[in-house]
C-alpha cells in the first residue's frame, strides 16, 4: 500500500466552535486503494473532521488536498465533482423516488445533464444504475420506493449512489451504525472489495471495533481534537495511550479476536 500515490493529504486541520477546539492541528493522508479508519471517543472531533474534508464545514486553519489539488473550503458539490463520494451517519436518500431512480439522479449529475428538460430520467442510464445496485447487493429492489427499504439496504443504496461518479475517495461516516452485526461485516467486506478492485481510497469513522480492526489497513485515533496515535491495527491495539483513552482495559476485542469470533 505504501507505494500507492497519496490521494488525500490533510495538513494541520483546525476548527473551533466558540472556545471549544473541536479539531486541532490534525494531519494525515490516505493513499489510493487504502482503507483508513478514523476512531475515537464521542466528541473527539471525528465528524467535524469529516465535514471539513468534503466541504460541509470550512476549517479555521489547515489545508485539504486531493491528488495535490487544494480543495479546502470548496462546497460539497464541487468536492464531489473531483471524485469524492460520501455516505452519512444517518442515511440521506431521496424517499419519494424508487431505488433505481436514486442512483439515476446521481448519474444525471455525473453526466452533467442536470438542466436537461426533455429526456426521461426513468430511462436514463438504466443499465449502469442496475449494475451499481447489483454491485452493492440491492439489485432486486430497483423498482421499490426507496422509503420502503430496510435500514441496512438503505446503507447499501447510499454506497451505490456514492459510487455513481467513479470516485477516487469514499468518505463513510459510521457506515455500519444502526445495522445488525451480520450486516455490518457484509457491508464492510463489500466496501473493502470494491475499494481494492477499483483502487478507491476509503476513510471511515466507526465505533464498532470489530469492523475497524478487521477491515482497516491503517487506523487514526482522535482524542479531544488531536491525533494521538496512527498506525496498523496491531500497533494501535497495543498503544497504551489508546487503550487508556478509548479501547479501555477490558479488552473485549482482544478476547474475542483470539477466539476468532468475528461478531
Amino acid at each position: 500500500m505504501s507505494v500507492a500515490p497519496t490521494l488525500l493529504a490533510v495538513e494541520d486541520l483546525t476548527k473551533s466552535y466558540g472556545g471549544v477546539h473541536a479539531v486541532r492541528g490534525v494531519s494525515f493522508s490516505v493513499a489510493a486503494g487504502e482503507i483508513v479508519a478514523l476512531i475515537g471517543p464521542n466528541g473527539a472531533g471525528k465528524s467535524t473532521c469529516f465535514d471539513m474534508l468534503n466541504g460541509q464545514k470550512t476549517p479555521d486553519r489547515g489545508r485539504v488536498r486531493l491528488l495535490g489539488e487544494d480543495i479546502t473550503g470548496r462546497p460539497p458539490r464541487a468536492v464531489w465533482r473531483l471524485g469524492v463520494g460520501r455516505t452519512f451517519q444517518i442515511t440521506a436518500t431521496f424517499p419519494t423516488m424508487t431505488v433505481r431512480e436514486n442512483v439515476q439522479v446521481a448519474l444525471v449529475s455525473y453526466a452533467n445533464k442536470i438542466f436537461n428538460v426533455w429526456r426521461s430520467t426513468p430511462d436514463f442510464e438504466r443499465g449502469e444504475a442496475d449494475r451499481l445496485l447489483e454491485l452493492v447487493g440491492v439489485g432486486g429492489y430497483a423498482e421499490r420506493p426507496c422509503g420502503e427499504l430496510a435500514y441496512g439496504d438503505l446503507k447499501r443504496l447510499e454506497l451505490a449512489i456514492a459510487l455513481a461518479n467513479h470516485p477516487r475517495l469514499l468518505l463513510m461516516d459510521e457506515p455500519t451504525a444502526g445495522m445488525a452485526p451480520r450486516e455490518r461485516i457484509e457491508l464492510m467486506r463489500l466496501t473493502a472489495r470494491i475499494a481494492r478492485e477499483q483502487s478507491i481510497g476509503v476513510l471511515f469513522t466507526e465505533h464498532d471495533m470489530d469492523v475497524v480492526f478487521e477491515h482497516a489497513n491503517r487506523i487514526l485515533v482522535l482524542n479531544r481534537g488531536t491525533l494521538i496515535a496512527e498506525g496498523s491495527p496491531d500497533d494501535v491495539r497495543r498503544d497504551p495511550q489508546v487503550r487508556a483513552i478509548y479501547l479501555g482495559e477490558g479488552l473485549v476485542y482482544d478476547a474475542r479476536h483470539r477466539e476468532g469470533a468475528g461478531a
Binding site: 460539497p76 431521496f94 423516488m97 423498482e143 421499490r144
Partner: protein
Amino acid sequence: MSFYIVQFLTGLASAASLFLVASGLSIIFGVTRIVNFAHGAFYMLGAYVAFTLTERLSGTLGFWGGIVGAALIVALIGVIVEMVLLRRIYRSPELFQLLATFGLTLMVEDLVVLIWGPDDLLGRRAPGLRGAIDFFGQAVPTYDILLIVLGPVVLGLLWLLFRRTRWGVLVRAATQDRDMVAALGVNQKWLFTSVFALGVFLAALGGALQIPRDAVNHTMDLRIIVDVFVVVVIGGLGSITGAFVAAVLVSELNAFGILIFPKISIILVFLVMAVVLVVRPWGLFGKPEAAARQTPGLSVRPWRPLSSNERLAFIGALIIAAALPLLGSNYALIVGAEIAIFVIFAASLHFLMSVGGLASFGHAAYFGLGTYGVAFLAKFLGLPMIVCLLIGPLLGLLGAMLFGWFAVQLSGVYFAMLTLAFAQIVWSIAFQWVEVTGGDNGILGVWPAAFVATPARFYWLALFVTALSVIVLRVLVFSPFGYSLRATRDSALRSEAIGLNSKRIQWTAFVIAGTFAGIAGALFAYLKGSVFPDNAGIALSVDSLVMVLLGGVETVSGAVIGAIVYKALSIWLVSYTELSKLVLGGMIVLIVVAFPKGIAGTFGNLVDSGRLPFFKRALPRASQAEGAE
C-alpha cells in the same frame, strides 16, 4: 428640521401596532412552529370589536376598557380556534398549517362584512388624548406620543413575562425543544393554547389601538399581514426584540420613503428586506434554523410516467373537452376557457410546490405580470395578439427571475412569507403607478384578434395552449431537471453531496413556474379584455394553492383535476352566494383537516387498493404508480 423629527415620531407611532402584531406572530411561531396567517384577521377583529365596545361604553374608563376588553374577547376567540382547529394540525406539514390559517382569514373577512357591513367605520378618538402637542411649530397628536411610549413598555413587559415567570421559562424551553418539555411532564396542550391566546391578544390589541388613528375596514387584515411578514423576515422569526427593531425600521422607512420617493416607498422596504436576506437569511435577530426535518406526510409512492391506458384516458378527455363548442352555450365556452387557463396556472404552481417543495404564497404575481405584459404590448405598442401572447409572459419570467433569486435563498415558511410579500409588491405597483397601469381602473380594451374572436375559437385556443403546457410540464417532471429538482426537495444534504447546486436548480424551477403562470395570465387578459391589479392579488394566489391542494399535492396531475373542480365550483358559488369567501375558507379548512391527500391522492389510493382495475399496472406491489396521472 422639526418637520423631519415629527415625521420620525409618526413613524415610531405606527411601529407600535406593527410591533404588537409581529411579536404575537413570533411568539406563536416560536412555540407551536405555526406561522399564523390568520394573525391579520385577529388584528382586524380586534379593531372591529373595539369599535363596537367603545361606541357602547362612555368615558375614559369606557374607552380604555373597550380597547382591552376587545383584545381579551378576540383572545378568547383565538383560544377556541386553537382548540378546535389548530390542535388537529400541529403534526401536519407546514403548508397545510399555513393554508388552514389562511382559510380562517377568508372566513373572517366575510363574517366581518356580515356583522359590521362593508363600509369604513370611523372610531372614537381617545378621551383626553384628542389634542396635539406643539413640537417646534409642528403638531404631534397626543395619541401618537402614547403609542410611542407603549411600544417599548410592551417589549419590557414581554421580557419580564418570559424571563421572570415560570410560564415564561416553560415557553422558552418549549421554543427550544417542545418534545423535551412534554417529556418533562408539562401539559403541552395548555401551554400551546395559552401561548396562542397571548399572541392573538397582542394582535387584537394592535388592531384595537388603531381605531383612533385609522378607519376600520374589512381589508386591513391583508394590509397588516404583509407588513408583519416583512417585519418578521427582517427581524427574525421567533425574536421579540427583532420584531421591535424591524417594526421601527419598516415604519420609519415607510414614513420617510413617502417623503423622499413617494412612488416607490414600498420598494424601499423591499430593498432593505432583500439586503437583510442576503446578509442574514434568518433575520437580524433570528437564529439559523436547524436542518429542516423530513416533511412528514411525504408520499412514498413514486411518480410514474403515464401508462398507455392512462394516455388513452387523457386523449379521450381532451377530445371530449374539444367537442364542447358543439354542445355548450357561449357562456359555457367562456367558463371553459377560464377553467383551462386556471389549469395552466395551477399546474405551474404545482411544478414549484409539489416537485420542488417550494410552496409559493404569491404565485399570482407572475400571473398578474403576464396579464400586464400583454396589456402593455397590445395597448402601448399596438402589437398583434400572437406576438403579445408570445412576448407578454416574458414579464412573468423576468419577475420570477428577480424575486425568485431572493426567495430560493429561503425555505419553508420564510419562503412562503417572502413570496407573499413579493406578490403584494407587484400588486401595489399595479395599484399605485396609475400613469402606467391605470391603477384601480386597470387597462381596458385588450381584445383578441379576429381569428379567435368568437367564444368557440378562443376556447379552442385556450384548450390548445393548456394541453401543450400540461404536457410540457409533465415532460419536465420526468426529465433529468425534474428529478434533480425533486432531489433537492427530498434531501438537501444528499443533493449537495452528489453535485447538485440546489439554489440554482430551485431558481430555475421558480422561473419556469413563473413563466407558465405568465402564459396563463396572458390568455386571461384576452379572455377578460381587461387587466386589473387584482390579477396579482392575494386572493388569486390562494386560489392557486387551493387548486393544487384540492387535487392532491403529492400527485403528478392533481393540479389539473384540482383546477377544474375548484374553478367550476367557485364560478358556481359566486353566482349563487354573496359569501363566497366564507364558503371557500370553510372548504380550505375542511380539506386540510379531513381530506389532506386531495382528489387525485385519494384516487391513487383507490387504485392501489385494487378497486379501479383499469388503471392497475403490471408492476411489483410496492411501486404501483398513482392512478390519477
